[in-house]
Assembly symmetry: C4
Homo-oligomer: 206 residues x 4
């Protein structure tokens, strides 16, 4: 028997794959007229905010994919609510490239504060949805397998509890200092990229 | 042995994943010249119809995906006709973002009546194809598994019977009152998002 | 043990899913300025060649997907040559929306003859690659399963043998009469949409 | 039990499928005004650099997909580091269409040297990531199956060792002679398209 969540994962992988590649579409290929009148080095260099946005968007969506994969290692059963929460999560993931590109364009400009708040605000919402989905699935073992690894599951729950509040701090910090706010966001990305038992510093897996 | 429909589902998931993300491509990222001359808040706010269209399109395609998933929980075998009906369905799903974006752009404008009719007309067609596909698969248990859950299948058939007529009502209502027409569409979306035995109010699963 | 070709099929499904949705990107959503100055009916109607192109492209790529699925029902093993031939096939499939859109734009215009030749020329190439891939896989049962259904396989080989020559006829016919050439192409699409034992009119499956 | 890497492969297939089709979006479909004023033959012919870029990009990404598939035939287990290395690899793959299109536009123009260096530089990075990922997985059999085919694995390691240095040579060669540099790149693509035991000329598989 196939895992009940197989198709949810396959569909999610498709949406993640599209979202993660979206900002490559913003890279403008120099065309005939440009080629004749502007040096290629100039054409390539003046797109640097687009490269930065692509790399940030790819990295963050990649880390969210790792987290989605991590959760669905434990979630073995599916119901209608899980599908709806998962769609909400995917809507957030799909939206990410837009605020990331807005941020990339405004770094060092007058409006970078608002750009950083929109950017971090998106992650506040995503962090909340990740928590709701996860807590819905694990509550009383609702959608877990019979052989659920309760210790790892506990580590994940603990790690995830930090998400919304810390992204909210990052959101508020943007009003005071954009650089500090982004530094906190990037630190959070690393925190969620590493496995929960390392992230929450308890002990290593056997 | 793999499920005969595995590849139909995988291909459908790919098409659904693309369709559901299409309207994110309509969000325009402010570029260099905009950044210098227009406040970011202005740039972000004047795109509100695009955000609305994206959210509506994502929600409705997500609900259609849930329905596709629900049907293929019961459809276990495949034949040429099923593949062709499924392609017809996917063509409808792929088309959805276009009338949704047209609707989003025209809300509150002179032509919103035509926009709402095009929008609801698309769903009339999709609701018919959903019914044809489903009835083709279940007629005499043609493409069901041996252990088919006939009660749930009956609930789905009953729920689906409402689709074409109610979307047709929504289509006609647009001529009289756009807001009422859209309210009915959105109510229908919720009706199809929830499981059939709840939607048709008979009883809960054991 | 998984089928050796599982990942080739999954990757192909992804490429087919993208190719089949490509022309929906050509549908232009009326934006603010259009909304104020042009009636929506005008905006929608003047895009009719784009709708025609989308439907034709979707239908033909859908039929090619059905054929790909049909072949890989029999192909059970994979080797490097199969992967390369499959990539060639996918390159052809990915290219299809472009000549289809060119054809849609030129129907009824001066240059429709060239457009029809480019269109049919694409299918000549694809029909050849389909044949080469299939004949490579079945020669001496090279990549078939142990329980290969030799009768169906023979029907497919017979049906496919018609492809390149008939598309070549369609290509040549475009020089003389565009409508006749397209009629032949569409007849061929139907011929390849139906199962081979029906298409080659031998007998029905048991 | 499913292969632990199943979902990594599925997600990778999605990203590869998008990357491989990206440059088809650069093909400009002649629209109404063009149709009336310019001959179709002219419109089609002046896009030749875009066709060349599409074919090159498709071919190279296809070959990288074959290699990814080849590696994951041997990699049976997954951990967090593998997922991160795989994401790095996919970021490189997603970036490929951009330098390829830049190269296509500049062939025969003043700046082709820089274009060729950017192009080959991308492959230097990708070749390094391919090696790091592979060596991480096979070191002490870390992520291999129990029945690992050590001979083929050794052939792959040997073949891959050539990658970074030869692409670096290709990168440097671009400074001296663009044609020679591209010839070397294309030879390398063929070298990585064929199976390792053939490529490293040891012996044939049993």
């Amino acid at each position: 028997m196939d895992k009940e969540t197989a198709r949810i994962e396959a569909f999610s992988d498709g949406v993640f794959a599209i979202a993660i590649t979206l900002l490559v579409l913003e890279l403008k290929i120099p065309h005939e007229d440009d080629v004749a009148h502007v040096a290629l080095s100039t054409l390539l260099l003046r797109q640097w905010p687009d490269y930065v946005s692509f790399v940030i968007s790819f990295t963050f969506i990649g880390i969210m994919w790792i987290n989605h994969h991590r959760l669905f290692n434990h979630i073995k059963r599916a119901d209608n609510t899980l599908m709806i929460l998962n769609l909400l999560l995917l809507m957030g993931v799909t939206a990410v490239p837009f605020p990331t590109a807005v941020l990339g364009q405004h770094l060092g400009h007058y409006d970078d504060r608002l750009a950083a708040m929109v950017y971090n605000g998106t992650y506040v919402v995503i962090a909340i949805v990740f928590n709701v989905l996860w807590r819905y699935a694990v509550r009383n073992g609702r959608l877990l397998g019979r052989d659920a690894d309760l210790e790892t599951i506990g580590h994940i729950s603990k790690q995830y509890a930090f998400g919304p509040l810390l992204y909210l701090a990052s959101f508020g910090l943007a009003w005071v200092n954009v650089a500090a706010s982004l530094a906190l966001s990037f630190a959070l990305a690393i925190f969620f990229a590493i496995p929960p038992h390392v992230a929450t510093r308890h002990k290593r897996e056997g």
